[in-house]
């Protein structure tokens, strides 16, 4: 189970940007490390992160091994109407995660 932390304000003001924070538990294995026997540990990083707001992609991030382990993202979304943020990401191993957070717009 890939641990994740999502933070969205309790209430967002209509037509104003609100802050989104996302932290994902992931080693972001670079592919350059070797194990104790000298064998290369294969690369496995979180590749694509998308944030959909009531169905539309409002933010997307394509990450690489240049992003630190346990990737952290802070970005903004303009509040339009109450609904839901749906986050989705996938890593090199093909593990796909979906998380949701409600948005209340006043």
């Amino acid at each position: 189970m890939m641990e994740a932390r999502i933070n969205v304000p309790a209430k967002a003001a209509r037509n104003e940007p609100f802050e989104v924070r996302l932290q994902i538990r992931h080693a972001m294995e670079t592919g350059y490390r070797t194990d104790d026997t000298g064998k290369a540990i294969p690369r496995n990083v979180v590749r694509n992160v998308t944030c959909r707001y009531n169905g539309d992609v409002v933010f997307a991030a394509q990450l690489s091994s240049g992003i630190a382990a346990n990737p952290y993202l802070r970005f903004f979304v303009t509040a339009r109407s109450s609904g839901e943020l749906v986050f989705e990401w996938v890593d090199d191993a093909g593990v796909r995660v979906t998380e949701r957070a409600p948005v209340i717009v006043a």
Binding site: E3, R5, R21, Q23, A27, M28, A68, A69, N70
Partner: protein, 251 residues
């Protein structure tokens, strides 16, 4: 204001109890935060950016699943970590938080231990420690804990490894000075379990001690070795009064 009063009271009590001078005077005690860069401090200070919370979150889920049936809720753990390591009568030994959790698991729950340095145990230990966040460290070295404390102090003062360095050489005699590009801290364990940037993960105080021993080119005791718990107790006594930082972030 209240916190500094409690701090003074705790320290007076500490000194009165063992009549032993601590290597660093109470008012000169500084958290490791004073010796890291501003970005590490900022990372720890912001709960929404602090990666340690990924483990606190996991620990909370594990606590609810495994511990809540007896321990009710997180609030019941408040103040516990501030008193650890502590002497445990049933095993006649000093236990750190990780050992105490696994003892509960194997003896009372009759389940397989999580295991030292396992992710689940780290998460649980972090969650439990987090409940003491901000509270002054207050360990006892009285009575049966005294032997472990004495061993820990001896280990701390003894030179180790190819570099022939004792903990006291850096952390009592040279804190604030540079070791290559890093500023040496006073060597408190008050922020552990901590997210260490070098590990790219959260880890235990025992792991940090082992890393330091590796750094002076000494053989590392295995995780869970009694000498590591002895040193943990000594360090906690030495840091009595400093607030528990959890989850800590260090470089």
């Amino acid at each position: 204001m209240l916190r500094s009063l409690a701090l003074v009271a705790a320290c007076v009590a500490a000194i009165a109890a063992h009549g032993q001078q601590r290597p660093i005077a109470t008012d000169a005690l500084r958290s490791g935060l004073a010796y890291v860069g501003a970005d590490v401090r900022a990372m720890q200070a912001d709960d929404l950016a602090n990666p340690g919370f990924l483990w606190v979150q996991r620990g909370e889920a594990l606590f609810t699943e495994n511990c809540a049936s007896c321990h009710r809720d997180a609030a019941s753990m408040r103040g516990v970590a501030a008193r650890y390591p502590a002497y445990d009568a049933s095993s006649s030994s000093v236990l750190d938080i990780e050992a105490r959790i696994d003892q509960c698991r194997t003896q009372r729950q009759r389940k397989p231990a999580f295991g030292r340095e396992s992710d689940d145990l780290l998460a649980l230990a972090t969650f439990v420690t987090h409940q003491s966040r901000g509270m002054p460290i207050n360990v006892s070295i009285d009575g049966p804990a005294r032997e472990s404390f004495a061993r820990g102090e001896a280990f701390y003062r003894q030179r180790h490894g190819q570099m022939n360095l004792a903990c006291t050489n850096c952390h009592d005699q040279n804190y604030g000075k540079r070791l290559y590009t890093e500023t040496m801290s006073q060597g408190h364990g008050s922020a552990f379990p901590a997210y260490r940037l070098e590990w790219q993960a959260l880890g235990s105080l025992q792991r940090r001690l082992r890393a330091c021993l590796f750094g002076v080119r000494a053989e590392m005791p295995r995780p869970g070795a009694p000498e590591l718990t002895d040193v943990e107790l000594y360090l906690a006594w030495r840091a009595n009064g400093l607030p528990v930082e959890s989850p800590g972030v260090r470089r």
